[in-house]
Symmetry: C2
Subunit: 426 residues, 2 copies
């Protein structure tokens, strides 16, 4: 993986002026001496993770794959986005090789929950409920509904064998409930926040159920951990990315748009929006994270990016090698005028759309682009990418003098909601 300079981005930046800050912040990350230092469990996790639990995750995932048609993952925020992003990024949007993974617990929508319950009525499904505390309203409600449905279908004992809980090792309502009902459980480390948890059991169990090679994922993250573990801005590409986005922010950009050319990376954009938005969006600071899927969205947002308000820059995530490919067939009559690319692969055309857009946006549109390229989107490279962004995010927030690891603003709507719902104490 590497960053590519476009539009002379890299040469515009005064790297020397960042040298000392980056070095000091890297030390702060490594010795956990900065704000939020208690939540740096993710930093060495690709090395320190519990190998015994890892084996247990694989074993139970195998059990789920063998015995069920559907896994329902019940979680929200960091207990939802990482797993969904990874499963779609690797397996695509219409994969028939693994069991089906669907998501609940991420919404209060009566329509979504009604239709999902209807859909599950005649399926053999297991549930993975994910919540550190067990008090998240969205997830608890969905889980109560799913639990009752399973118990009605299978009886209490069999139902408890179809439920897997990912939660705090010792504390919280979900831990108590899981112990009492004798669910198989996986631990959510206390020193890792939701948006940094994709490489823990939170992501690993659903991914393993989706037949994704989680060992390769952790290997990729491990190699990234080693690669980005130094404070030298001249060589550390992860921190170079953090500095470039800091530079754009300080020179007037308001929005970072994460762009891909694959519909199956759409949810990766959502994961990135949480990671950066929730880490940096404090004290009336921070870039608004946004996302788009090209070339689809060139036919909707393309006009704005090209010629509208100059408030954004783009960060492109581009695997050079597609997981699948299709050749454009010849047509004897050529009524659609496409024979000039007959015999070419779709990946070839998609790449030309990428390169043509890059030129259009950077040269004509004066919209700076950062490109993060890799060979292909497999488990190894995705593990690398997840780690790359988490570490870059920590550096970015600290460059703004912001604690990357808290989210005080998320509680306000909850308090208001609990008050309106008549919950005791609110």
């Amino acid at each position: 993986m590497f960053l590519v300079n476009t539009n002379h981005t890299l040469t515009q930046i005064n790297w020397q002026s960042y040298r000392n800050d980056v070095k000091a912040i890297n030390t702060m990350i490594n010795d956990a001496s900065g704000p939020g230092g208690d939540f740096l469990g993710w930093r060495d996790y690709p090395k320190t993770y519990d190998k015994k639990e890892f084996a247990k995750i694989k074993r139970w995932a195998n059990y789920v794959r063998t015995n069920f048609e559907v896994l329902v993952v019940a979680g929200i925020g960091g207990s939802y986005l990482g797993a969904r992003a990874a499963i779609e990024a690797i397996n695509g949007l219409r994969n028939n090789d693994s069991i089906e993974i669907i998501f609940m617990g991420q919404t209060l929508s009566p329509n979504y929950i009604y239709q999902t319950l209807e859909y599950l009525k005649n399926k053999k499904f297991a549930v993975n409920v994910i919540s550190k505390s067990g008090t998240t309203t969205e997830t608890s409600i969905s889980f109560r509904l799913l639990k009752q449905m399973l118990e009605e279908k299978l009886g209490k004992e069999e139902a408890s064998k179809a439920i897997f809980a990912t939660t705090d090792a010792k504390n919280g309502l979900l831990r108590e409930l899981a112990n009492k009902e004798k669910y198989v459980t996986f631990n959510l480390p206390a020193n890792i926040g939701g948006r940094f948890s994709v490489l823990t059991a939170v992501g690993l169990f659903p991914l393993a159920c989706a037949d994704i090679d989680i060992s390769k994922l952790m290997e990729g993250a491990y190699d990234a951990m080693k690669e980005y573990d130094n404070g030298d801005i001249m060589t550390n590409q992860c921190y170079q990315y953090a500095v470039i986005r800091d530079h754009f922010y300080r020179t007037g950009k308001k929005v970072e748009m994460f762009v891909t050319y694959e519909p199956q990376f759409r949810e990766l954009g959502e994961w990135l929006k949480q990671l950066f938005g929730e880490s940096e969006g404090k004290e009336e600071l921070g870039l608004l994270p946004d996302s788009a899927v090209f070339s689809t969205d060139l036919h909707s947002l393309g006009q704005f990016i090209q010629e509208g308000s100059k408030i954004l820059f783009e960060t492109i995530i581009y695997p050079r090698i597609p997981n699948n490919d299709v050749e454009i067939p010849k047509d004897d009559e050529d009524l659609d005028g496409l024979n000039y690319i007959a015999g070419k692969k779709l990946s070839f055309v998609n790449e030309k759309a990428f390169l043509g857009t890059l030129e259009a946006h950077t040269a004509d549109g004066k919209v700076p682009n950062i490109i993060i390229e890799m060979d292909e989107m497999n488990a190894y490279n995705l593990g690398h990418l997840f780690y790359f962004f988490m570490r870059a995010c920590a550096m970015s927030a600290y460059l703004l003098h912001i604690n990357p690891f808290n989210q005080p603003g998320v509680e306000i709507y909850k308090k208001n909601m609990f008050h309106l719902l008549g919950k005791k104490g609110y």
Copy 2:
């Protein structure tokens, strides 16, 4: 449908200062005397649309529903987003009552196209190809692949009975091809641009295939057309919305975030992003349109909205009555602590999340909110809503002295791409 004032938004605005402009622009819209006046076909379309073709659409949709398992809609931009937004908004994300509608032609992704073709191999599917000119690369490539697949499966003659083309009445490659192959065709009016075309055959045929009542849709649009057809800013809520967003833009907001509380309205957000982004994003002006689905995204973007950079305002689309509902069951042990809302409906809880968030964002977060409420999301109200936004969009762009109906910036990446692909003349 009506707008609700929150956070004293409406009283902050100097309505008198907009009075003359709004009146003049409304006249300009009604007599088509402004820039882009040739593309105002959508304005009276709910009244002037071709009733004979409308009946033909219904007839063939019935044929498709009876004879096929899947309809593949092949289009991009305005030939994709409106139909997808409407079908999901009305039918939801897991609907089993209509035939399946899937989309192709909106991407060059080899992964997406490979998996979709694999998925279709054993399905009985029809195709609706939508393109004004027939030269849109994404759509043409997908259509060539789908056409060859059908012809291999069914033979040329039977295949031609499974293909429906929506295109210009007289001109263009797709019109020629459709005439030659004797496809059933529907007309894309020459004086309606892509992002204003959802109420034409572009949207109507897929919607009718999805068993949505397109007569009710047109009725809703017709009533909206009558309601918003006057230049009085003091009574016309559609123009009030346009003026409020203009006010926010001129007083420093950079982003309009369209928010819903239903996952099945996510694509409605995408339709809105094209409508406003492509209409206003010119001459380095315009609000960046963004979208979010709450409460899901309160656990990702919520922190930024609450406490991050003060660059955005929110426009909430909120139907008060859900299409389906679910009661939260009682649990004797109450291990999850939810019994305080047992017996309540999910719609009740979702509404409290909405009201709690409204208070959190507007009062604590100083983020202005505009609310567009309706009773329920049905075909009639959706028709109304589509028209409301299209008319508001025309007013908005003209308030910025921008032609709402062209999109010159979209061509630049295409030219570069064609050059790189070696297309003749580029």
